[in-house]
Amino acid sequence: MASYKPTNIPVYPKLGEKVTEETLYWKNYKTPIQIKEFGAVSNIHFSPVTPYNFAVTAFTRIHLYGLLSQEPVKTFTRFKDTAYCGRFRSDGQLLVAGCEDSVVRLFDVSGKVALRMFKGHTKAVHVTDFTSDRYQILTGSDDYTCCLWDIPNSAQLNTYQEHTDYIRCGVTSQLNRDLFVTGSYDHSLKVFDARVDKSVMTINHGHPVESLLLYPSEGLLVSAGGRYVRVWDLLKGGQPLVSLKNHHKTVTCLALSSNGQRLLSGSLDRHVKVYNTTSYKVVHNFDYPAAILSLALAPEDESIVVGMTNSILSIKHRKPSEEAKETAGHQRRRPSYRVYAHRKSYVPKQDDYLVSKPVRQHLAKYDKQLKKFNVSKALDTALETWIRGRKPEITVAVIRELDRRGTLKNALAGRDEQELSRLLSFLIANLVDARFAPVLITAAEMILDIYQSIIGQSPVVDKQLLHLQSLLERELDYQKDLLEVLGMLDTMFASSLPKIELPCSGISTSNGLPQGQSTASRPQILAA
């Protein structure tokens, strides 16, 4: 005797975004904490030492935030004008920042007043950084120059005047104290060596350069400018490695994930894209409410901090890992387990004859009712609110099964106003879904056939029927538009395809087709 075969619930392919491990990793962040700053957040920099505070440069202030705090732990306000590029030294003790008033200030993280003021630039300083020996500072300014300063005696060591436009980005090498790279609005990147007084390498990015990033190995350099993110191989003399064009507005900031496997780029188009650094494919995408100016990742990717033009700072923290959660739950439930433990602990020995219990088939409620041929009840069960809302495919599968059994009409008939309106609301919600339409259209026709005599008796049902009608009209218009587009596309494809000449056999008489017809026949290959 065969057992009852439950209703087959089709699994529909998930449309849109594919779920990958990457998505799971990058989705595993809590809802962002949003902090209102005083102006557009132009730079964010994490302290390289614990407790990993980060400096947020916005308008005339630099705020220091703790990793988990929502209030600034410290504020530097001694700027006369807009501050730029607040950066920590590699020991986390000193902070440097440029300013619109062309003065570069150096702060002790614990103090308030600037320790040193470096004056020498004539225009706003947008780039500041420490060199890897920790005693010098690199600055780049809108006066087209970049300088190296000595910290102890605040003297200007060297000036380079090679760029022909504003210098808006620059990085120092972490491995060599003499190397640094600057990017400018003149579309070029220049690599400088402090030991010589000229740039050692010039690379053309093709667009005003907005951001620069050196890989930890410093073999590769990433530049962002315009809509492009470009990767250059420094060891091969600045050879372009790859060019990424995934944003549709200017890319403003770059960041590298902690293990160096992923590259992040933020743009004015309000997206942050995550690239795989081996394949340079976009593996994930974050959406933000406003144009992004700055971006930073905490060590171990514990949080993503993004600053936007609308002066909002958004901080996303990683969710605690699953294992920690599980062990916590396990501990709580342990006592109740212990009661039943002895039953499970028996392990069959080698010669034991195992008598397997007949496995009872578990059936869903609607299947049990279908098994008993209670068609109306089965439909009621399938129309329960949570199934209808969460898993409409179950409801549709039950309707399809009833239709297959030829009893859909019986199941639909004999319903009161409330039940009928429930049915109609389900139809309204799902009728235009392409996956369900073939089944639901049959059901809708049957409902109209059965209940046409009571139209006009209930205002609720009438309203829903009118809604259904307008929905269908809208859908029809939509389909018509789509068909028009399809037709246009077809003609475009047909004209763009190369005309294939068929190899026409010499003995056309035996081939059957007349000569002219044979040459005229071109396969209609549709792009599948």
């Binding site: 209703t7 089709p10 068929l502 087709l513 599948a528």
Partner: protein
């Protein structure tokens, strides 16, 4: 034309076992059922066929136990004979033949000494036959006395009771009184109901008749000794015609395949056994009432214990009314695959004539209701290595509401069965007309081509798992091709899968699957191309096509020109996978002819006119396990493969060569005659004692004769067996004396079997060396007397 001298068409397996009600033996151990021209004896415990009682020359129409001897059974057949069998040993005891000419037996009943046979001559008559008690095997039945005439040929419409005989329109005939009464139901009770009688049965001990009706009602008739005072009560559970009734506790079944047991006199209490399979056609009960068995329309017999529990299922080859799929061969098990139960594919072993298993394709609860459109498996295809199976199922005939599913099944090595991999709902907008895999012999198949009425053909590709999801690879559409919005009817891959030919009505298009380019078109108007087939091996440059305008065309692909064309109405074109041979079944003047030919040669290898009546639309080449070495010209084409085909009447036929037939008959004769066992050490050990102890003889014969399913218990046999091995004192003395004799004499003595004169069998058996004989002797001399103590 080559004459078909020594190649014969024979029936091959898969006969109906649900044609007539099966009979259960008195001890409920055996089940006898009519199966084509033989009666098959099944074991009810193990479902195995023990033996077939062969002898009838036409369809057997009834099997019945002999009431006076529970080891014998009658069978009657359309050849006009009634035979009496000893069914445990499979021996024909007697057979009776009528002296009248045109007589076919439809069913038989035994009442006291008379054998009643419903025979149809010109008019349906029930005749009583008296079989004379004489020793001869063939008896001519002279005493034929017509008892009743004009009865139905359907055995369900008549039944025997204690002393009554009843049939349709409720005519009750009393054998003792030779009287008959008729009862009628009012034609129009209530709903203008269809209350026609469908079946009838009698209570074995009481005066009660149950009749089943078209409207699903069962009526119990009582008090029918008087014409006026009869009463009846109605039981209603079935929703359409009741097809079978039986037993003391009334059993009923019908198209919904639910067995209903009604308690006698407490009719409100019912037991149900649902979902038995196909519609129930017959129910029979064993004489002791311990077992029921139901025959189903899907060629199945279910054996049910009286506690309403299924204990065994005997399944034959399922032959639905329509076979939609082609006949196919599963490459791994070499099983024949075709439509089985509704929504299933059946895997049938041709060697063992046994259904291996059913694969559930549709995976939906089957609702037994007439007029309901069900999902049907309409197409299936295996790839060359047998690791993929593609099936197409469809529902609803009307074009706009057509529901189509394309399913792809992967072979699972652990489960040894096919497991669903991908379901593609609505793969095409129209019906699928053809489905084919490329013939990749070495690597994995990763492509499937389907053509459809919607004017497209699609190539499906096995895609690697997307990203890092846990699912395995699945199939998706790779290419969609069309040609001038013509409808493709057939497609075929070349032997090396480098070319794909798709027949678009009158035009054959040849594509390359590597880049999906259209290479060339071939055409031979008028008439659409119906069947396409590439040649193989040395003929792989040929493409053959059969058109609707009664033409068979052969194109040469090297020159892209027509090689030859011949006028024949080909209904099926097949290529042998192991040779260049092709078979064409042609429909000509109401019957089918077969031509076997090589595309490159002008003369056919073999032709057979008037193979059978009607069109042959299903056939398959089955690769042989062992190649034949026949060099005879006419039968050479059968060297690599068998050719099986299904006729319109759903008979599975095949071709057999003379040599093969001879071998078969010889082996079967040998089986009967040769009773002696090979000379093994065990035989020597036993053989010596056979003369002395009757016990071992008994045990040996007992174990030999009884088949392996019905052996006596081990304890019973063991004591006899061990006892026979023990050597009594006197024997031991003798054997010691023998040892002193010369070796030559000893050998002859040992090799002497118990009954036959020595010599003949001795030389047949493998001669034992002297060392072996000595070893045996030493073994025998060991004292086994301690065992005697144990036994006592």
């Amino acid at each position: 034309m080559v004459e078909h001298g020594d190649v014969r068409v024979v029936h091959k397996g898969g006969s109906k076992i649900n044609f007539r009600e099966p009979a259960l033996s008195t001890d409920s151990r055996f089940l006898l059922c009519a199966s084509g021209e033989s009666v098959k004896v099944f074991s009810t415990a193990t479902e195995e066929c023990l033996h077939a009682l062969q002898g009838h020359t036409d369809l057997i129409t009834g099997v019945l136990l002999r009431p006076s001897n529970h080891l014998q059974a009658y069978s009657c057949s359309l050849d006009g004979t009634v035979r009496l069998w000893d069914f445990t040993d499979g021996i024909l005891i007697r057979w009776a033949k009528s002296n009248r000419v045109n007589i076919w037996c439809c069913f038989i009943y035994v009442w006291t000494v008379h054998l009643h046979v419903c025979a149809c001559t010109e008019l349906f008559q029930l005749v009583a036959v008296h079989l004379p008690q004489c020793g001869e095997q063939l008896v001519e039945a002279k005493e034929l006395s017509a008892v009743l005439s004009n009865i139905s040929s359907n055995p369900a419409a008549s039944a025997f009771g204690r002393e009554v005989r009843i049939f349709r329109c409720l005519e009750v005939y009393f054998f003792k009184k030779h009287k008959s009464y008729s009862f009628f139901l009012k034609k129009d009770n209530q709903k203008g109901g269809k209350n026609t009688f469908t079946c009838i049965t009698c209570h074995p001990t009481e005066d009660c008749i149950a009749s089943g009706h078209e409207d699903g009602k069962i009526r119990l008739w009582r008090n029918f000794n008087h014409r006026k005072e009869y009463t009846y009560s109605t039981l209603h559970w079935h929703h359409s015609a009741v097809s079978s009734l039986s037993g003391t506790n009334l059993l009923s079944g019908g198209v919904e395949s639910v067995l209903v047991q009604w308690r006698y006199n407490q009719e409100s209490q019912r037991d149900f056994l649902p979902r038995l399979g196909g519609a129930i056609t017959h129910i029979s009960v064993s004489p002791d009432g311990a077992l029921f068995c139901t025959s189903h329309s899907d060629n199945k017999i279910t054996i049910i214990q009286s506690c309403v529990k299924v204990s065994a299922v005997i399944q034959g080859l399922v032959k639905g009314d329509r076979i939609r799929t082609d006949l196919m061969i599963e490459p791994r098990s070499k099983a024949l695959v075709l439509n089985g139960k509704p929504g299933h594919l059946q895997f049938y072993s041709l060697q063992r004539d046994k259904l291996l298993y059913n694969l559930d394709i549709v995976q939906q609860e089957y609702i037994h209701e007439s007029g309901l459109e069900q999902f049907e498996v309409v197409m299936a295809a295996f790839d060359a290595s047998g690791s993929w199976l593609a099936t197409v199922e469809e529902r609803k005939q009307k074009a706009p509401e057509l529901e189509l599913n394309l399913k792809l099944w992967a072979f699972d090595d652990q489960k040894q069965s096919f497991v669903l991999n991908t379901t593609i709902s609505a793969p095409h907008e129209g019906r699928i007309t053809a489905l084919c895999f490329p013939h990749v012999s070495d690597g994995q198949t990763t492509m499937l081509v389907s053509t459809s009425r919607d004017g497209h053909f699609k190539a499906w590709q096995l895609a690697a798992p997307a990203h890092t999801e846990d699912e395995g690879p699945s199939w998706s559409c790779d290419f969609l091709g069309a040609y001038h919005s013509l409808v493709p009817e057939c497609c075929c891959f070349s032997a090396d899968s480098s070319l794909l030919a798709v027949g678009f009505q009158e035009v054959v298009t040849v594509w390359t699957p590597a880049s999906w380019e259209l290479l060339t078109t071939l055409s031979q108007p008028p008439g659409a191309v119906r069947d396409l087939c590439f040649g193989r091996l040395s003929c792989s440059k040929y493409l053959l096509g059969a058109t609707t305008s009664r033409l068979l065309c052969c194109w040469n692909l090297l020159t892209c020109s027509l090689e030859w064309v011949t006028s024949m109405d080909v209904s099926l074109l097949l290529a042998d996978p192991l040779s260049e041979n092709m078979a064409a079944f042609c429909f000509e003047a109401g019957s089918t002819d077969l031509f076997v030919f090589k595309p490159g040669e002008p003369r056919p290898l073999f032709s057979h006119k008037a193979l059978c009546s009607g069109r042959v639309t299903h056939a398959v080449f089955v690769p042989r396990e062992v190649m034949l070495e026949s060099c005879d010209e006419a039968s050479q084409w059968l060297n690599c493969s068998h050719l099986y085909f299904l006729t319109q009447s759903m008979d599975l036929l095949t071709f057999i060569t003379k040599a093969e037939e001879d071998k078969l008959t010889a082996s079967s004769k040998q089986l009967v005659v040769s009773d002696d066992v090979a000379m093994t050490p065990f035989h020597l050990l036993l053989g010596k004692h056979r003369d002395h102890s009757a016990g071992i003889n008994e045990v040996g014969s007992l174990t030999l004769r009884l088949n392996r399913f019905h052996r006596p218990t081990c304890i019973f046999l063991c004591s006899m067996f061990v006892q026979s091995l023990l050597i009594s004192k006197e024997e031991e003395m003798e054997s010691e004396k023998e040892e002193e004799d010369s070796d030559g004499e000893m050998e002859s003595r040992i090799s002497r079997p118990e009954h036959m004169p020595s010599g003949e069998s001795g030389c047949a058996a493998p001669a034992l060396t002297k060392e072996e004989v000595r070893e045996l002797r030493r073994l025998k001399k060991l004292d086994h007397s301690w065992m005697k103590g144990l036994l006592d």
